[in-house]
Symmetry: C2
Subunit: 426 residues, 2 copies
């Protein structure tokens, strides 16, 4: 693995990242886009809206990165000082660009707002810099070469930065940076296995794939297997579909992890279950207790979910479980609301009363209160009822209230996925 690809640094500007409780996220898609251009992000630096600090960050960045992407601080308020910082540190002056000013004028006139002096500042760009037009917002960006690095400046608004990077920056990068390799990345999302279990299964396979880098990322939703390979451009066909080692490795990984893989790349558990229900022309109803509506929320994040999700009964109280799902008071009194028989009755009731194909239920103790020795916090029963019968499963989840809800929702959706997987197999 002697290949060394050009390195990039992303400088994100915004005091809210230092002490506003905001996490920075533009750099995530920028890193992905840069990698497909053969450029690897090695540094991310977050600084406040402070001219001196921005200037210092930029001088440090050009010493270690061939490509420097600055996001943020291009707006029209007083604390937006990225333009000034870049001009000062690169010994340029800010010059008004008539075309950019005209665009701002048109934009503001069209929306009936006056073009104030503060807003006009956005058309002042360092001399010698190339303007990057903003197709979706007001502030233009710019690109310049300094100390053998290419410096790209983009607005902090995600939609603007993303649109500008794709349409304006990617086509220009080739002029400044050449890379013989591009990154191919594949993510397999799994449920039901630990990092250690996956690692033990994959390590023997990976030994014969020296160009593949593996990372495992665990969260409340499961473990993601991230496989990365720097592929020589010579091996990439015009449609960008030829992998070298990855091509051979992927089927082996899928084989060894099996049905625990629920999705690839950007697929979520809710989108996968949605696809299954759609392709089997099935409908579903939910009976949620401790998840409180989270499963319904997740399923309806997917556009088109109205064709398979009919309704959800969020039954927090026992009365609601009786009224809406027909769970008998006797069952509730005998086993308690958090029990396998009640989970089953909830799933059966949801399916029957909604006349859908699948009924899915969750009942448990999300905590921090409400636990006991026999029924501790994190105890969750999930039930499913469908054309192939009903069954329940008991889980003991770790973590706080939010973790328990998230893990329970994921386990419940996964039970539907596996149920439908078995149903669609001969």
């Amino acid at each position: 693995m002697s290949y060394t690809n050009p390195k990039a640094e992303i400088i994100a500007i915004g005091s809210e990242f230092l002490h506003g409780g905001r996490t920075e996220s533009n750099s995530l898609f920028l890193a992905e886009e840069l990698a497909t251009c053969g450029i690897e992000v090695e540094w991310k630096t977050l600084v406040g809206d402070n001219e001196h600090t921005i200037a210092l960050a930029l001088s440090t960045a050009v010493r270690r990165a061939k490509v420097v992407i600055i996001t943020g601080g291009l707006g029209s308020t007083l604390d937006d000082c990225t333009r000034d910082a870049v001009a000062t540190v690169t010994s340029r002056s800010l010059r008004c660009r008539p075309k950019a000013l005209q665009k701002l004028k048109n934009r503001y006139t069209a929306s009936g707002r006056p073009l104030t002096k503060a807003i006009s500042r956005q058309a002042y760009i360092p001399t010698g810099a190339e303007i990057l037009e903003n197709p979706v917002g007001s502030a233009p960006g710019f690109l310049l070469e300094w100390k053998r690095s290419v410096v790209v400046t983009l607005p902090g608004v995600s939609k603007e930065a993303q649109a500008m990077f794709e349409s304006q920056v990617v086509p220009r990068l080739g002029r400044y940076v050449s890379s013989s390799h591009v990154l191919k990345q594949k993510v397999l999302s799994t449920f039901g296995l630990t990092e250690l279990q996956i690692d033990e299964r994959l390590q023997p396979i990976l030994q014969s794939f020296s160009f593949i880098q593996l990372s495992l990322l665990a969260s409340a939703l499961g473990v993601s297997i991230v496989l990365r390979e720097w592929v020589s451009r010579k091996n990439v066909s015009s449609i960008g579909q030829v992998f070298t080692e990855m091509e051979k490795l992927l089927p082996m990984v899928r084989q060894t992890i099996g049905d625990n893989v629920y999705g690839e790349d950007n697929q979520t558990m809710e989108s996968v279950v949605g696809q299954q229900l759609t392709s089997l022309s099935l409908t579903m109803a939910l009976a949620e207790s401790c998840t409180g509506g989270l499963i319904g929320h997740r399923l309806t994040q997917v556009s088109g979910s109205s064709s398979y999700l009919d309704r959800a009964y969020v039954c927090y109280s026992n009365q609601a479980k009786e009224d809406l799902l027909g769970v008998s008071r006797k069952l509730l009194e005998r086993y308690g609301a958090v029990s396998a028989p009640v989970a089953e009755a909830m799933a059966v009731g949801a399916r029957k009363r909604s006349h859908t194909d699948i009924g899915l239920s969750v009942t448990g103790i999300a905590g921090p209160g409400g636990g006991s020795v026999t029924k501790p916090v994190g105890l969750v029963f999930i039930g499913i009822d469908g054309p192939h019968g009903s069954h329940t499963k008991k889980f003991q989840f770790n973590g706080d209230r939010q973790d328990v809800k998230t893990r329970a929702s994921q386990a419940a959706l996964n039970m539907v996925r596996v149920y439908l997987l078995n149903q669609s197999r001969p």
Copy 2:
């Protein structure tokens, strides 16, 4: 404002932050904790699990920051190399600490796992560094002085880093850094006003408060007003509750923004509504259509919500609206599911059928499909029914499906808040 407080840099280590799609979040609470010690975070640097890069980041950091906090890379896998990087760059060697090794042994013996060589690496700490015990996990951290800066190394696991910072680092910082001022921060969360509207109302007031720094942070949940003041330690009482300018300013801000302020600091809309319902001893039922369960999910994020949230009817289909809420087919046919009369009927139905005090309904078009000229994507009707009668409100939200759902859930909860606010007033 001539006071300059000591500066800190946070170096977060983890390749997943560069190209795994993970956002870094430990630095958020670290920045908050440091500020209460009088130390301001001026830089955040994110680098991968790479010894050379970590070493370079640390040498850069000590040149510009008095306090350097490194998180991550202290585990037992091969790519964890923070210990090695710090030792190398500070010209120290890694030495096994018998006490730390014994702790690891005890921990692993207790859980019946063997203490492998890889795990023992965690007890190897740079010479001259002070060990920071890990009360909740396995890897200890350490603290050392280098080039007149104090360097603190903590694990990447949030719970561990947080516990260690509070119990081990805060008490030691005073030895290395003295600050005459500490930060007092106040966050007021608002709904229903734009950044510009808030700015216009606050600027005239702020002119006579030269020590207060204002920032406005907008999101789909509303606009947060963040007020910061560096207060001389002389003015801070032993219980830490005396503000100088902030004390005078806060009532003025509350007055001018009025009921648009829904919460302070860590309060969420769902926790505020929960407190109102609890103190008025009221119960609530939901009828959600386009939000798909999100309001129920949000309300049940709050521990104890079972005492006021009885149930939620998530009625995605028209049939479900008829069955569960008694919305008449005639009404649905005449006005359509997304209309004020249907929203009202849903709220009334939810309240009546659940025998609760408040019924809250949402019906709208989350998109991207399903819109029309008269009923575009983002159109949402919210209805409320309670002891003081019922009413509905029409909204037109911007953004994608997720944004529309989030904004609708926030507007709906805010309608309950305002309804209850009026109810509890004489």
